[in-house]
Symmetry: C2
Subunit: 251 residues, 2 copies
DNA sequence: AAGTGGTCTAGACCACCGA
DNA sequence: CGGTGGTCTAGACCACTTA
């Protein structure tokens, strides 16, 4: 072959990828069905098998097809699902204290969840927890940014000794138990600051604020820790950037 | 070459990929530096250039290196950064009104940003906007969930006619202008509900609530729309799930 | 002009699957 | 067994960057 390609034209494999995508969208190749084998495509488009494979690789990256040795290339979806994603390189970004902050340990107690706490912590009543009460301060200022109750499994009791300073609880859990935090569920709502927290935060009871509850889960959905945070008005903002991304995370 | 590979051994390109990863981790190739050119690697490992490219492709998929035609392959990171990601298949999930809700248009006006508004909307003073004031209601109940001021570029004035019902503004923008929303920046903080919004939300002025500001951006960071939302306490919670994912999103 | 990565060919053998 | 995708070779020309 080796026909000269017009300048500015897309590479051959990309043209073929586009052709295949069109064929999938127009249901020439139905979802669940097999694409023609690579040698057939290679002959049909008059290119080498390598070029066809390059095209199919694009489709696979987009999640449109999946390949299986010995079987073939199966159509998995009619169109590349676009989605918006947000990413964190580190869990510390979740809290977004860009400036240095200090964690102050106010108190600690062992307890068993009563009905109310069990509901908040999504566990069964009677479940034993250790509760750390903390406030977080900016390095320079005096007013605390937040009041936080941290609940951890009793087996992580020892983290108390390392809790001082600007360390993050989940880091301590990962360091000690060796259990990795695989998922964090975060709930945010407006809330009046309860009297006890208000005192520590130096605001009036029932002042407006934000309540953030975070559930830290390990492998197999195991709940390792829960934190309940109160942020008074105007001291802290949570921000998140959602970006459109093509399935497969290609730049 | 074509030495027989021991059964069960990893493919050659994978072995080479692992060797390169080791070399990067051990700083034989520093972050920011260039990997040796493909022909050199091909000769060094005694494989074809294709095989080397397959290995480097793995590294690129993991975000360890980036390639640039005419320049070379540059090391971008020492290790495949694990990260936590959250995904939305649709922007509607950002708002998370699981039940059906209705948008009620309260008012509309054209305006030019004064200093305060310009700061909020991150634009220059004098920039013309159209402001829609809306409340969102659950289907059955009476109390509104939220009060929202939506700012859009004047060119999208026409979306007013479609704003009624439970439609989402960004959908209208995409439908009309053809401009795609590529990024959404979201800021959340606790806030007292201002008097005007409080009246519509049927709460007392300065009651605790949550303020959510969302910036909708198109291609090239172009700001298309901004929404300022107030949610009273206990009527709505934002929840997000962050999951650990390996860079490159390879299963 | 020289060197880089990007694309492409025409072969080959292999591991895996279903009949 | 024949056919699938997976790996690999030994070439080739091209587009792009730097000098």
């Amino acid at each position: 072959m080796s026909e000269s390609i017009p300048a500015g034209a897309a590479p051959r494999y990309q043209q073929i990828a586009e052709a295949l995508i069109r064929d999938i969208e127009r249901s020439r190749y139905a979802v669940g069905a097999l694409l023609p084998p690579e040698p057939a495509l290679s002959q049909h488009y008059g290119v080498s098998r390598h070029t066809v494979r390059e095209a199919i690789r694009r489709l696979a990256d987009m999640g449109l097809v999946s390949r299986q040795q010995g079987i073939g290339t199966r159509v998995k979806a009619k169109s590349a699902a676009q989605r918006y994603v947000a990413g964190l390189s580190d869990l510390a970004e979740l809290m977004q204290y860009t400036q240095r902050t200090t964690l102050k340990l106010i108190g600690e107690r062992r307890l068993q969840a009563d009905a109310a706490l069990a509901s908040l912590l999504r566990c069964r009543a009677g479940q034993p927890w250790i509760e750390f009460e903390t406030c977080r301060y900016p390095a320079a200022g005096r007013e605390p940014i937040s009041h936080t109750r941290i609940y951890v499994l009793p087996e992580y009791e020892g983290i108390r000794d390392e809790l001082k300073g600007s360390v993050w609880v989940y880091g301590l859990i990962e360091k000690r138990g060796g259990e990795k935090i695989v998922e964090v569920q975060q709930e945010i709502g407006g809330a009046a600051i309860p009297a006890h927290a208000a005192r520590l935060l130096q605001v009036k009871p029932r002042s407006p604020g934000m309540m953030v509850t975070r559930y830290y889960l390990g492998r197999r959905e195991r709940l390792l820790s829960v934190s309940v945070n109160y942020y008074p008005e105007n001291r802290f903002k949570l921000s998140t950037r959602w970006r459109l991304e093509w399935d497969g995370a290609k730049a």
